[in-house]
């Protein structure tokens, strides 16, 4: 069996993981191991980001970090972890300028200033981007290039971490499945960073890549860490719904709303946002949580578009303005049969980002010695609703901190191979294959529908209880899930591990949602439609003997 040793092990090689690797190497870690279950720098959410990156650079206004923080706290509806939010806003400019020095290609004005636009919820023009719709791919490519230049960083693709290894109360490494061979791999690490992103793949309508199934939350919980704010899943309000669009991320409409406005219309062609307290007469200003709620209510009331969303129309914009704003995207849309001058498109809320996540301090350390987290996997910085543009800076800032502090920490406990024994045996046993009638991929589909219907943008106690009951049945059925024979690149083996982790993540969201008996930000309860000022505290989720438990904030 392959065994690897690392000073710093990083699980997940998106923006946060790659930055953590760079920072760990800078802090003199000699053996940095960067794993991804997909391909390094290609899986994950960072590369999917088409939008903007918020940082108080002050290139276009009198902006400063305090103003960015005030906007972040306001958007978070009273729930942001002020320490994490401050770190995010204070350190974002340094990270964004560093990316600029690394030639990421931020869009610039004549004269060389970095262009900054005003996204909804921001009081200043603060959001940088790479044209056209290329922010995430450019950030990912830039970090891949930097990582590949550092000898101390070893990169490994197609390794799926199935368990963290705990000994004497500390995380001492991990056990992974090597997809190519189907064999287990043990990894001893003085410090381990979970940078696996969020969990939006557990929702039927999502903007996630394949590996956003929430496995980092399951890993952290099982190792003894706590999760915070798990009920707050951000539903991006205007995800593309119809006509079918291929080759583009479904959240691609937002930048064009910044530039052109655009009108949201119900199925009969009438504007409706004003009824939910938002005035878009002059500009695109509706925060994400309010827009998602308004659209979901319209659809539930039978006023939606044919595919169950609403219309987004640019028909009133002159063709020349459309061409200037959309650039080459106009041709890509035409290949999908979309002509914005002639017809609206259908849009719907879509699971886009997870505000909740692993509870950490300002060093990105969890309560478990040896275990850190970074990026979207971290909870708390964004409270009940994330500001547009705060996700990429979170990846970079928290990644940098996690790498730096993980490299500086002392090993919490020595490697102990017997502590990895059960996890190794589980991989070996499952890789033998298992006959059964239940396909993991089919159960994952069912879980996504269940989460969308009962733990989605509109929630009730009855729906949440129904979801919990079914999630419990699915967890109980895990030993009967079929695994196809053949160790090499066995997709059904990978699906089995994903299902197991996704069910834990789903249960964490559902239990947290049930515990919050009010509506706030992205968490909307039809049975408790108002916010309760007494409940402006973050709740926590933990695991005891395999059981997921949520408790309200104190």
């Amino acid at each position: 069996m392959t065994h690897l040793d690392a000073d710093v092990l990083i699980i997940g090689a998106g923006g946060a993981g790659m930055y953590a690797a760079i920072a760990a190497a800078r802090a003199d870690a000699e053996r940095v191991l960067l794993l991804d279950k997909s391909l390094v720098g290609r899986g994950g959410a960072t590369i999917m980001a088409q939008m903007t990156v918020a940082a108080a650079l002050g290139e276009e206004s009198d902006d400063d970090c305090g103003l960015h923080l005030a906007d972040t706290l306001e958007a978070g509806r009273g729930l942001c972890d002020a320490t994490l939010a401050s770190v995010l806003c204070e350190e974002a400019p340094a990270r964004i300028r560093e990316m600029g020095e690394w030639q990421v290609g931020w869009a610039r004005r004549d004269g060389g200033r970095i262009a900054q636009v005003t996204a909804p919820g921001h009081s200043r023009p603060r959001c940088c981007y790479v044209d056209f719709l290329n922010t995430g791919p450019a950030v990912a490519a830039t970090l891949r290039r930097q990582v590949s230049r550092i000898d101390a960083i070893r990169r490994l693709s197609n390794l799926t971490v199935t368990d963290l290894v705990v000994s004497e109360g500390a995380v001492i490494g991990a056990v992974a499945l090597d997809a190519a061979s189907g064999e287990p791999v043990t990894i001893a690490a003085a410090a381990t960073i979970v940078a696996t992103g969020g969990l939006t793949r557990i929702y039927r309508r999502n903007s996630a890549s394949a590996n956003m199934g929430g496995d980092g939350y399951a890993l952290a919980l099982a190792a003894g860490a706590e999760l915070v704010d798990m009920e707050f899943v951000q539903f991006f309000p205007i995800g593309h719904l119809a006509p079918r669009l291929v080759g583009m991320d479904p959240i691609m409409w937002d930048p064009f709303r910044y530039k052109l406005g655009g009108r949201l219309l119900d199925g009969a062609g009438n504007e409706f946002l004003a009824r939910y307290g938002s005035d878009e007469t002059d500009a695109y200003t509706t925060p994400r949580d309010i827009a998602s709620h308004a659209i979901t209510k319209e659809v539930a009331a039978g006023r939606g578009s044919p595919h169950g969303g609403v219309y987004l129309s640019f028909e009133h914009i002159p063709a020349a303005d459309l061409r200037q704003a959309f650039g080459p995207v106009i041709e890509r849309l035409a290949r999908n049969g979309i002509d914005l001058a002639r017809a609206p498109v259908e849009v719907s809320p879509i699971a886009h980002y997870h505000m909740g996540g692993i509870a950490v301090d300002a060093r990105m350390a969890t309560r478990v010695p040896g275990l850190y987290a970074a990026g979207e996997a971290v909870g708390g910085a964004n409270g009940a609703n994330r500001l547009s543009g705060n996700a990429i800076p979170e990846a970079l800032v928290f990644g940098e901190r996690a790498g730096r502090f993980a490299a500086a920490g002392k090993p919490a406990a020595r490697w102990n191979a017997s502590a990895a024994g059960q996890a190794v045996e589980r991989i070996r046993r499952l890789a033998e294959g298992r006959s059964g009638e239940i396909a993991a991929a089919a159960l994952l589909d069912e879980l996504r529908a269940l989460m969308w219907d009962d733990v989605g943008p509109l929630r009730t106690a009855a729906g949440l209880e129904r979801a919990l009951a079914r999630i419990g049945e699915m967890r109980a059925a895990l030993p009967e899930v079929a695994i196809a024979p053949g160790r090499e690149c066995n997709a059904s083996l990978a699906d089995g591990f994903e299902l197991s982790a996704s069910l834990v993540a789903a249960e964490a969201v559902t239990r947290a949602a049930l515990a919050r008996r009010e509506s706030r930000g992205a968490h909307q309860r039809e049975d408790f439609p108002a916010s309760n000022p007494k409940l402006a505290k973050s709740g926590l989720v933990s695991m005891e003997a395999g059981r997921v438990a949520a408790r309200a904030g104190a």
Binding site: S38, L39, G43, R155, S181, R244, D249, N336, D445, G486
Partner: protein, 110 residues
């Protein structure tokens, strides 16, 4: 309901390979990757295909040959009127089915 047919090259490593035919539901606008994901959920969970971003055309992981032409499965539209032939990326070592060794050498365990 309209259906589409896929003839998929199956096999592991250097072992002999064969084509296996799958019939999948056809919807307007659906892609070859949609069809392969459907097969995995409803017909054969072991069918191996590499993909990550699913539909955004950014990760470039799902490169395969469709009817002899190298394409991304996620942006190639499914057709209903004839069988489509799916092969692994030519010129790369096959790992299993449609998965080839596309990892940079330094990102491999062995």
């Amino acid at each position: 309901m309209k259906m589409a047919r896929l003839s998929v090259r199956r096999g592991t490593g250097a072992a002999p390979a064969r084509y296996e035919e799958f019939t999948v539901p056809f919807e307007d606008g659906a892609t070859v990757l949609d069809a392969l994901i459907w097969v995995r959920a409803h017909r054969d969970p072991s069918l191996a295909i590499r993909y990550s971003c699913i539909n955004a055309n950014v990760c470039k992981e799902c490169t395969i040959a469709v009817d002899g032409k190298v394409v991304y499965a996620c942006t190639t539209r499914l057709v209903a009127d004839r069988a489509m032939t799916l092969d692994p990326l030519p010129g790369k070592r096959r790992l299993r089915d449609l998965v080839t060794e596309t990892r940079p050498p330094r990102e491999r365990l062995k």
